[in-house]
């Protein structure tokens, strides 16, 4: 079932067009990977899904992006509410310079989700458990989040993202700063989270896209060149450009 349906999305940075007529159906409770060379528009597209492009003044987004029939590209949309439903994890772990507990409690606090201290404790614990971090931090929740290792910080950011029970999580190269063990932990987490959440991940690692996703989209020069089941894309893509890219023949 489709969770997000983008139709004819065009994005401009001033007079420069960054995305051309991108149409894509993102399935619910699946992992969709977006791949492509640097500057191909995959992150730009990802940022359309929670209106992160709003912060770039010269950026203009045209076309329709619907999440469960809610038009995300409407000026009337409550962007704060949208970001409660569509969380984001970035390339570099970016915990707040606050305690581990406060990092996770931040979202539920600003969105007024918890009614009591007990309820907040519960949310923090559940989120950290879902992010597979609880066992490592349960005895030091009052320590500063930025003191954790890179992989732990990234899982803390994922815990922070899931603390408000989002329906979708966007991940922009979430493992590019992590070692292979921390990467495997995040990938295991992605596998687990997809039972409840729709995930869209931008990655430069072909093998990571192949490992974690069910659908893959290949972007090139602002266009979605090919989109389909991940096994098909990596075993026998229809498009020559896709094949050239994933086999290292690009350029």
């Amino acid at each position: 079932m489709s969770k997000i349906k983008a139709e004819n999305v065009n994005v401009y940075y001033g007079s420069k067009q960054a995305l051309f007529d991108v149409s894509i159906d993102i399935a619910e409770k699946e992992v969709t990977a977006l791949i492509g060379p640097s500057g191909c528009g995959k992150s730009t597209f990802l940022r359309c899904l929670n209106r992160m492009n709003d912060v770039i003044e010269i950026c203009r987004v045209e076309g329709s992006i619907k999440m469960d029939n809610l038009e995300l590209n409407s000026r009337k949309l409550d962007v704060v509410r949208l970001r409660e439903s569509v969380g984001m994890v970035f390339q570099k772990p970016n915990p707040f310079p606050k305690t581990i507990y406060e990092n996770v409690a931040y979202g539920p606090t600003i969105h007024g989700i918890a009614q009591s201290k007990e309820e907040m404790d519960q949310i923090v614990e559940t989120s950290l458990k879902k992010a597979a971090l609880w066992n490592e931090v349960k005895d030091r929740l009052d320590e500063i989040g930025t003191g954790l290792s890179g992989g732990q910080q990234q899982r803390l950011c994922i815990a922070r993202a899931i603390s408000v029970s989002p329906e979708v999580i966007l991940m922009d190269e979430p493992c590019s700063a992590l070692d292979p063990i921390a990467t495997a932990q995040i990938e295991e987490l992605i596998d687990d989270l997809k039972k409840e959440v729709t995930i869209v991940i931008v990655t430069h690692s072909m093998s990571q896209a192949a490992r974690v996703s069910q659908k893959t989209g290949f972007f090139h020069l602002g266009k979605l060149i090919e989109f389909g089941p991940t096994d098909k894309i990596f075993k026998n893509p229809d498009n020559q450009q896709t094949q050239d890219y994933i086999t290292g023949r690009f350029g």
Partner: protein, 226 residues
């Protein structure tokens, strides 16, 4: 799809080496089979002995290809056409090794029973053997030239060898009924005929792999059988 070279030259070279090794192994196996059949046709047992000896090289090629494939998977993580190239090489080398083994087996039987054999059966053997050789040659060409149609033709014409084998076996049994003293020779010839039929089957397996290599799809339907 026509392929551009890889950005990383050493990867391109490794894939090319893998293809070249398959072709070399295939050429060797073809020669082995030819020597085996010609040994009977020309009544020259030294050709059979050569085929037996050359099987050592075929086995070495198989090990070498396996090493190349394992290295490519471990170090390059091939994708799409490169992944098919790698996996297909492993399977094709295994079928080629079997063809080499079967040729060697026929040759060994020949060295045991000699070349003075009933003419009617050896004629049948020769026809079926040449047909199998042609199949092996065609399928190796389809691999070398990425010729999908040739692979399909090989796949479709295995039936002929199967039918030949059935009638050759019947003829051999009939010969035996009339010439009971030939029992030892004819028994060996029955195995040799069966080996030719198995060689045809391996050529067909390779045809399936070549088709998969080129298209990414599997040849559909039941393999034609005699």
């Amino acid at each position: 799809m026509s392929e551009k070279p890889h950005i990383v030259k050493s990867y391109e070279e490794q894939l090319q080496l893998l293809k070249n090794t398959i072709v070399k192994m295939g050429t060797g196996v073809e020669k082995q089979l030819e020597n085996t059949i010609q040994s009977l046709v020309k009544k020259d047992i030294s050709l059979a002995e050569k085929s037996i000896k050359d099987d050592e090289l075929t086995d070495k090629y198989e090990i070498n290809i396996e090493e190349q494939v394992v290295n490519l998977i471990a170090l390059r993580q091939p994708m799409a056409i490169d992944l098919r190239e790698t996996v297909v090489a492993l399977k094709v080398s295994s079928d080629l090794e079997r063809i080499g083994d079967l040729s060697k087996n026929i040759s060994k039987r020949l060295t045991k029973i000699g070349t003075d054999l009933p003419n009617d059966i050896t004629k049948n053997f020769e026809i079926a053997g040449l047909k199998a050789s042609k199949q092996v040659n065609a399928v190796l060409n389809s691999y070398l030239h990425r010729a999908k149609d040739t692979a399909e033709n090989v796949w479709n014409s295995d039936e002929e060898i199967d039918q030949m084998t059935n009638s050759n076996m019947e003829a051999a049994v009939k010969h035996l009924e009339k010439n009971k003293n030939d029992i030892q020779k004819v028994t060996q010839l029955l195995f040799m005929l069966k080996n030719i039929e198995r060689i045809g089957d391996h050529a067909t397996n390779i045809a399936e792999q070549v088709y998969f290599l080129i298209t990414g799809d599997y040849l559909e339907g039941d393999r034609p059988k005699g």
